[in-house]
């Protein structure tokens, strides 16, 4: 399945992974690998996962996010999610408690600030 695109860019000491498409049981394991790889560089303090362009997201995606967060934590890296308040997938993140478990911003900038505050990285 090639229905999902992933682009990675860096912003300061953070990596930003832009996901676009649908995330489900079929591709979640691959996406997890790609996300972990995006933050593989030890210099990277944290990973911002941008879900703005994700059109479908369910518990397979939630499980994947939790795994990524845990694995990054073990590597002493932070993680945050960026997803607009109006996105349909936002309700799911609320229901399953993703918003309580990891920082979620409504924009990349917000996610960046929140994650920066948590990790104590100074604003640039």
């Amino acid at each position: 399945m090639n229905s999902l695109q992933i682009d990675v860019e860096s912003l300061g000491s953070f990596a930003i992974a832009h996901l676009a498409g649908e995330i489900d049981l079929a591709n979640a394991p691959n996406i997890k690998e790609l996300l972990l790889r995006a933050a593989a560089d030890g210099q990277i303090a944290g990973l911002i996962i941008n879900l703005e362009k994700v059109t479908y997201f369910d518990s397979a995606g939630v499980r994947m996010l939790f795994t990524v967060r845990r694995e990054l934590e073990q590597r002493r890296q932070g993680s945050a999610i960026s997803v607009p308040e109006s996105a349909p997938i936002r309700s799911l993140l609320k229901v399953v408690g993703v918003e309580d478990a990891m920082p979620v911003g409504s924009s990349i900038e917000q996610a960046y600030d929140v994650l920066g505050n948590i990790l104590g990285v100074p604003d640039e």
Partner: protein, 809 residues
């Protein structure tokens, strides 16, 4: 005046008896007589009375006697009336309680789908309500062949209970016609039924009273309900009524249970047949293959099974004649295949036409046609005796030739007819068997590697999703021509659009077949990546130029259809143009977009044409074998198929496809492939049968998303419903045992949105555990989540009302 007279009558009236009356009469007589004699004036004031006091005393006494008699008569009559009323009331109460009990039993029976349990409940109730010691319920289990399939449930003393049904005689259908009652022992019953008199069945006279009622379903006797008692004189009309009432309830419940069981059997039957078909392919021994096939068909769907197969020399051989052993023993028959020159024989007709022959009740003419060429008298008599009541002759077709035929029939003895599903099942079976027969008769040995390769590359299963249907045929060129490179593909892309392709590799043999495989795989990969037709074509062109060694070329038409918009994008590389059949405008060729064959010119550009389809449209893809031959110029061939598409554009997909293939020049020069795609609008109710694999999720969501759009769902609602549905499906994928090859999903929006996921396997322990995330999400996003775990699998039903459910106009 006569005050004392009335007092007397009133007092006497308090007793409803002769004694006070007699006393009163005596008293009046003595009193009036004695006093009248001593002092007539104190009693009488009439001169005549005073003159004869004793005579007048007697007259008074007679008065009293008369009044007494009148009163007594009235009281007696009244008493009888009251007593009768009380009896009637008691009777009504008793009957009401019986009716209530019967209804209660009826209700319980109606919900009971297990036949054995049901029979037992009925007979237990009969014994209890009928005040019997023992009872039996004899039931014609198969509703097919009387006398031999009786199933009996007993209650109480089983030895005596088992005797009961025998007393009515063996032939249920003819002798179990009305209720039979005897209160003088079993030996005395059956007198009104000469066929059933069997006093020796109860020689010791242990059955004192006996009651039997037939159980009828739609005017047919399907069984009998019996109760007995060791004392005589136990059963009357009441008991007969109770038993008759029970019989009515039992018949209704049995009918439901039978329908339920036969439906379940039909499902299992289909599963068995499809599995059997696969198993057949591995067998190489024709006889044992047909043996096992016959046991699958008989008695499950028919009473007899006959297979006629051509052997290597081309002569027809009757491989097997198998009849349900409970009806006739066909094992020692000296049977033979029909004479191929006998064109009236229905099997020969079917073999020649390649069409399924259907016959109903055997007429003398049909029987004559069937048996004319039979030489063995025993076999001839056999066929006449079993007298089929309905039958099907299904040819075994392999591409464009027939390798044999199956004949199945129901026989008079069973009293049943072939079910409506039988034809489809048998034709499926015949399709699979044809391939197996081919292997068995060693056609396979002559098969070249190239053809095997090519066949392996044609899709076995075209996509089957609600909203689309696809039918395809491939007819190879005649013998000696070698293998062509026709191929096709139809697949649902992750975004829910459909990719259709039809290609033809120039050249023949292994090289062509290999290239075909490469092209096809590359096309699939590019299509899945989402490349539009023009871009896809350019890439394939480069690939072909880079990889092929001998300047190989291929033609291809590739279409991508997006059902959410109705947009059809197409690019052509030297391939004849597809036909579009729209519901309103009829058939037309889609404008040919200029395109050079793949592998001809480096850097060639392929233009895309875009058409908007309306729901109900069909697209016909084909290769040049269908429209072109030495004897048929291309444009004439195209006119020919255009005509067929115009005339038959909206008949069944198979019929259309067959008609097109039949129109091929057919001189065996070239192979021919035809694919028809039909886009029909999504209905209110969708049904999917899917493999439990993660990659079904995305196309499924695409279809449901479109369907929710049509229902007017908002973005947020759509997402939440899709997530809830995916959770249910993901659960099946992750937790069902692999034993179940498919699961079912039904989506219904006639009222609210209702999605049902039915899984035939058994879930592992952790499937949808309470408190699990999947369940939590489903509960959060849907109004109702209902999970039923049964023996046969699990059913999850999700329901949600849309906020903007359409307002009735």
């Amino acid at each position: 005046m006569h005050f004392h007279f009335f007092v007397m009558v009133a007092i006497v009236a308090m007793y409803h008896d002769w004694t006070p009356f007699l006393l009163a009469i005596a008293y009046v007589f003595l009193h009036h007589g004695t006093l009248g004699a001593l002092d007539p004036r104190s009693v009488f004031n009439h001169p005549a009375a005073m003159a004869h006091p004793w005579r007048w005393a007697a007259v008074h006494a007679v008065f009293i006697a008369g009044i007494s008699a009148a009163l007594l008569t009235y009281w007696r009559l009244n008493e009888t009336y009251v007593a009768e009323q009380q009896r009637a009331e008691r009777r009504a109460r008793r009957e009401a309680s019986i009716v209530a009990r019967l209804n209660d039993i009826g209700r319980r029976l109606a919900g009971d789908l297990d036949q054995d349990h049901l029979l037992q409940s009925v007979v237990d109730a009969a014994v209890e309500l009928g005040g019997a010691e023992f009872g039996a319920f004899s039931y014609d289990v198969t509703s097919a062949i009387p006398q031999r399939f009786r199933h009996t449930a007993v209650s109480g003393d089983s030895e005596r209970a088992n005797h009961l049904p025998l007393l009515l005689g063996a032939d249920m259908a003819s002798s179990w016609s009305k209720a039979v009652r005897s209160n003088e022992g079993a030996a005395a019953i059956g007198l009104n039924d000469p066929a059933g008199v069997r006093p020796e069945l109860d020689p010791e006279g242990r059955i004192g009273s006996y009651l039997a009622v037939p159980v009828r379903s739609r005017d047919r006797v399907i069984g009998g309900l019996f109760i007995g008692h060791n004392e005589t004189g136990r059963f009357g009309e009441d008991e007969e009524r109770i038993l008759s009432g029970l019989a009515v309830h039992a018949a209704a419940a049995l009918e439901v249970a039978t329908i339920f069981q036969s439906e379940r059997r039909a499902r299992e039957r289909l599963d068995t047949l499809s599995r059997a078909g696969e198993a057949l392919v591995s067998s190489l021994d024709l006889d044992s293959m047909m043996q096992s096939l016959s046991r699958l068909v008989v008695p499950a769907i028919a009473d007899s099974f006959v297979a006629d197969i051509f052997d290597e020399e081309g002569s027809l051989r009757r491989v097997i004649v198998y009849v349900d052993e409970r009806i006739e023993d066909a094992s020692n028959l000296n049977f033979a295949a029909p004479d191929l020159s006998d064109e009236t024989n229905p099997v020969v007709r079917s073999l020649r036409s390649g069409n399924t022959e259907v016959f109903g009740e055997t007429t003398p003419e049909l029987l004559e046609e069937m048996t004319r060429s039979i030489t063995d008298p025993v076999y001839k008599a056999f066929v006449r005796r079993i007298s089929p009541t309905s039958g099907l002759i299904v040819p075994l077709r392999l591409r464009n030739f027939v390798v044999g035929a199956f004949t199945v029939a129901t026989l008079r003895a069973s009293g049943r007819r072939l079910g409506p599903e039988t034809r489809g099942v048998l034709e499926d079976l015949a399709r699979q068997a044809a391939a197996a027969v081919e292997n068995a008769t060693q056609f396979a040995k002559q098969r070249t590697t190239a053809e095997l390769l090519q066949r392996s590359l044609l899709p076995h299963d075209l996509p089957d999703l609600p909203g689309f249907s696809t039918v395809a045929r491939y007819v190879p060129g005649g013998p000696g021509v070698g293998i062509g490179g026709d191929w096709y593909e139809a697949t649902v892309l992750p975004d829910g659009s459909v990719a259709l392709a039809m290609g033809d590799v120039v050249g023949r043999g292994i090289e062509a077949a290999t290239l075909m495989g490469q092209l096809k795989n590359a096309m699939r990969a590019y299509a899945l990546e989402g490349h539009e037709p023009g871009e896809l074509m350019s890439r394939l062109n480069s690939l072909l130029l880079d990889q092929s060694r001998n300047d190989q070329m291929a033609t291809l038409v590739y279409l991508r259809f997006d059902p959410s918009s109705g947009e059809l994008r197409m690019a052509t590389a030297g391939h004849p143009p597809p036909l579009l059949i729209s519901p309103n405008e009829g058939a037309r060729f889609l404008d040919r977009a200029a395109g050079t064959p793949l592998g001809a010119v480096r850097g060639a550009r392929y233009e895309e044409t875009v058409n908007l389809l309306s729901p109900g449209s069909r697209i016909v893809l084909y290769t040049d074998g269908l429209v072109e031959a030495r004897t048929l110029p291309l444009d004439e061939g195209m006119i020919r198929i255009h005509e067929i598409a115009s005339n038959l554009g909206h008949v069944g997909m198979d019929t259309l496809c067959e008609a097109l293939v039949a129109a091929a020049p057919g001189d065996g020069e070239d192979d021919t492939a035809v694919l028809v795609f039909w886009w029909h609008a999504l209905g209110e109710r969708l049904r999917f049968r899917l493999a439990p694999q993660p990659d079904v999720l995305q196309p499924l969501r695409a279809t449901i998303r479109r369907w929710l759009n049509d229902a007017g769902a908002r973005a947020q609602e759509k997402h939440e419903i899709l997530v809830a549905m995916s959770e249910a499906v993901a659960n099946v994928i992750q937790h069902s045992r692999t034993a179940a090859p498919t699961f079912e999903l039904e989506a219904d929006r006639t009222d609210a949105i209702r999605i049902t996921v039915r899984d035939q396997g058994r879930w592992l322990q952790d499937g949808l555990r309470p408190g699990g995330r999947g369940l939590q999400i489903m509960r959060e996003f849907m109004d109702d989540v209902d999970i039923v775990k049964g023996v046969d699998g699990t059913i999850v039903t999700l329901r949600r009302s849309l906020s903007n459910a359409p307002i009735p106009v």
